[in-house]
Amino acid sequence: MFEDTAKDIIFTPLQFKNLEVKNRIFRSSVSGRFDNEDGSLTQTRINWECKFAKGGTGAIISSYVPVLMEGRIIAGYATIHRDDFIPYWQRLGEAVHSFGCKFIMQLSHSGRQMDIPGVHNYTRPTQSSTSKRESLHGFLCRAMTTAEIHYTIDAFAKGAWRAQQGGLDGVELHAANGYLFTQFLSSGINDRTDDYGGSLANRARFLLEVIQAIRTKVGGKFHLQVKISAVDHNNVVPWEKKGNTLAESVQVAQWCEAVGADAIHVSTGSLFPHPLNPPGGFCFETIAATYDAMISSGMSTLRNYFLFRYPILRPVFRWAWFRMKRGRPVEGVGEDEARAIRAAVKIPVISTGGWQNASKIREAINSGACDGVSIARSLIANPDLPQFWAKGYDLPPSPCTYCNRCLLNAPKNPMGCYEPLRFADHNAMVDQLMTIYNTHPILQIPTAEQVAP
């Protein structure tokens, strides 16, 4: 038990080039379908983020925020593709700041990894580095033209500018876990033959041009960090290529630092979810009840649904999924990779992957594996987890079990903890899920002009 928080590395501020965070705890990107179909955020999202801000998290990394509507991952998540959304995000920032917490917007583009396209994207294949379908769900895509790449680079720059204008504390480029940046970076996915494909330098070109464009747009004093997958492990579907190695990712991190990134956030895997991200269980009964929301999204989703739904078929998926986990810990699953990257760059490194024990986090930071950790599931289970640590707990009394039911419910149900062992009964669990909907909105009577024809 660490009794003196002043000396506790967890509660030691982390100083970036352009940002200071009060402690080493980042809420990793996670959210639910809280927002409006047009991409505007709601009070529910503010309530959601404030749970973690109030709980003592140093900085919140938002859930993925698309810079374009054609880059949505799941419809119903707030976007940053319009200037008129700046005030909403500003309000969210103010809310989080009121608890002494920073807010970093994670700028993203789904590329081909679009789980629930929504009405905007119903009729068009997604844009990607490749025209080859996504391997696990069979999501359709087409290779972007150079003009579309340039248009998207500009969209990221504008997204960062909007975050800056909204008074947020920085942005993170979501270049991990299989989204558009990964689709360019990964040798297992990118099959282009132009300047954005082939060599690692070419594959990294899109990401580096985005960083440069953001720096051009927002200047050098706005916090910008990049989340990358240290190792792709792209062969979850066994016949796929393995993708990028750690050495390639170290090189990418160095290039990011060189062109203006202020921090590297280290994750794992070239698709999401991935056996190693988030690490932990895979509850077939849960996914069988929620995956139907994705059946119409991909060419292989019906096949997957059968694999999830029927116990006789589950061993096939179980083998493919769990074979990559063997011998790996759940907590700190990416620690070694983060250490390798941190040794190669001069900017701070944040590690994600199952962190929950204060002692392990301290050990990781003190040993030089990382400068801070990002956490999602353990904070969903206990938003006030930092306070437990501050009180000297290594683990909270009712910790996250890494069951991943929160993740598996995401396509269909509100975000929250679904671990039945943590609740007295189902109603208690639902009550927990509903707390963020206590919005008390000020309902308006629209004028004639406000009512759409």
Binding site: Y122, T123, P125, S296, M299
Partner: protein, 524 residues
């Protein structure tokens, strides 16, 4: 709604995939269906074509007459073809719709209709083809036309079928010759046979018809032609056997032993002999069996006879053969219907006991007494002087082949056959049913047998089943070779293998002693 255009990109792609892949899926589905149907059909066919089943009968007499000993698979005729041969070759069957022209015996079923198959023809379904062929009763069931007392005490006049007596009707030579010639006949084609079967026999299904057209009939015809090429030259070289007779070993040499006819010695080429009676096999244990006494094992003799009927080591039905063999151990012949003068019988018995018993045993009121100093032993033919052809037809060469090959490596391997130099002294139980007499059936009656050879009939009609109460035997009027009136068979003792000489025992007795001895013999 049918025809509604796809909305999402995924739906469009799925539609495109379906348009492209649907023909492939249909082909794969068809292949799967056809494959499944084919596999099921294959399994059914495999099951059917590995079938080897035959009906069995609770009544041992029925089993003897109609049960299978395993001769059908290798030697038989498919049942539908058996059914229609009379219509395809009416002249050979004298326009009868059954096989009675060859002396096969038919019984009526419970409804009074003539049974489908005659006595001595059994059926077996082998590789999905129902095949019919011989069993023990073919050669060992005959008829007697007399007034006899049934086991229930009822006197009945007419034709009596006697299981175990030698067949006195079956003209095997004629039947085999017909089959061999039929196989080479221009009418013996798949078209003709299938048309006749579908018209007059059991209709064939589509699969069966294909099977018959392309496999069964060609295979049968090939088999008949092969046998024809081997057997017919032998049969042509032999005097016709006539009803109730068979050449046991020469066809055996050519078919089972695959010996070439031109490698056989001239003196061994005719081995025609009467079918034997098979009563009372138990008391015959240890005796020399067969006319020439070439085997002392009942079981081996039985298997050898089964091989003669068409059984092979692969097809033999041991269970049925054992069941019948056990039944035959105690099978008694029907009591003689003759009632000779008791005093004459008593006097004749004295003569018999003095001059015949040591070789043949004796008959008394308790039944047959199988004791005698030389009963069941081989008497040299120098002593007997009877026709030697049957003796000469069994050779050392054939014996060597039998012992080396038949049921080799099994507990049933042949080892008891021997080559003898004479004929066995046989018990005379059921003597009244065993005419004509001597091994080759060359002497029609007991009275004739007590006469010197030159006084014995030189020719006589064979095949009758009316008893001759005066002379002991079946009515056998003289005839002029080659044929007897009414198309009956005229036996000519001047032909090779038909000689009626020898066995001069009793021929020198006084006339009254012969009469007394005959009276006694009529009680056997």
């Amino acid at each position: 709604m049918i025809g509604e255009p796809p909305i999402t990109a995924v739906e469009k792609a799925l539609h495109r995939r379906w348009r492209v892949l649907t023909p492939l899926y249909i082909i794969l589905a068809l292949i799967a269906v056809i494959g499944t149907v084919g596999a099921v059909a294959g399994l059914i066919l495999l099951w059917q074509f590995t079938q080897n089943r035959t009906p069995h009968y609770a009544d041992i007499v029925e089993e003897f007459k109609y049960g299978s000993i395993g001769a059908e698979p290798h030697s038989g005729i498919p049942y539908p073809i058996w059914r229609i041969l009379p219509t395809l070759f009416p002249e050979a069957f004298e326009h009868r719709n059954d096989y009675s022209v060859f002396g096969f015996l038919y019984e009526n079923d419970a409804n009074g209709r003539q049974r489908d198959l005659p006595i001595g023809i059994s059926r077996r379904t082998y590789r999905n083809v129902e095949v019919v062929w011989f069993n023990c009763a073919t050669c060992h069931t005959g008829t007697v036309n007399a007034t006899m007392t049934d086991p229930d005490g009822q006197a009945r006049t007419g034709t009596h079928i006697i299981p175990g007596m030698p067949s006195n009707n079956l003209d095997l030579y004629r039947f085999i010759t017909f089959l061999l010639e039929a196989g080479a006949d221009e009418r013996f084609t798949p078209d003709n046979l299938i048309a006749a079967i579908n018209k007059n026999g059991p209709r064939l299904g589509l699969v069966e018809e294909i099977l018959y057209r392309w496999y069964v009939i060609p295979t049968l015809r090939e088999g008949l032609l092969m046998r024809r090429s081997r057997l017919l030259p032998l049969l042509k070289a032999q005097p016709p056997w006539g009803p109730g007779r068979v050449d046991t070993f020469n066809p055996y040499k050519l078919i089972q032993a695959s010996m070439s006819l031109n490698t056989l010695q001239p003196k061994e080429l005719i081995g025609t002999a009467d079918f034997p009676a098979i009563f009372h096999q138990g008391p015959r244990r240890g005796m020399h069996l067969h006319w020439d006494g070439d085997n002392t094992s009942l079981a081996e003799r039985n298997l050898s006879a089964a091989i003669g009927a068409g059984v092979t080591a692969d097809t033999v039905d041991f269970d049925t053969i054992d069941r019948i063999a056990n039944w035959l151990l105690q099978l008694r012949p029907p009591r003689s219907p003759y009632h000779p003068d008791a005093a004459a019988v008593a006097r004749g018995r004295e003569v018999f006991l003095r001059q015949c018993r040591s070789c043949h045993g004796s008959q008394d009121s308790q039944g047959y007494n199988f004791t005698g100093e030389t009963i069941g032993q081989v008497e040299t033919n120098r002593e007997l002087g009877v026709d030697p052809h049957r003796l000469d037809s069994y050779t050392e060469r054939l014996r060597d082949f039998q012992l080396a090959n038949f049921f080799k490596g099994t507990p049933h391997q042949f080892r008891f056959f021997v080559k003898t130099d004479g004929y066995a002294n046989l018990p005379l139980d059921g003597l009244w049913l065993r005419a004509p007499y001597l091994h080759n059936g060359s002497v029609p009656t007991l009275a004739d047998l007590l006469n010197p050879p030159q006084q014995r009939p030189a020719t006589f009609v064979r095949g009758a089943d009316q008893l001759d109460p005066e002379r002991g035997g079946f009515v056998a009027p003289p005839c002029v070779p080659p044929s007897a009136p009414g198309g009956r068979f005229c036996y000519d003792t001047s032909k090779d293998g038909n000689g009626n000489g020898g066995h001069l025992f009793g021929v020198t007795l006084a006339t009254d002693q012969k009469a007394d001895l005959l009276a006694y013999l009529l009680t056997f």
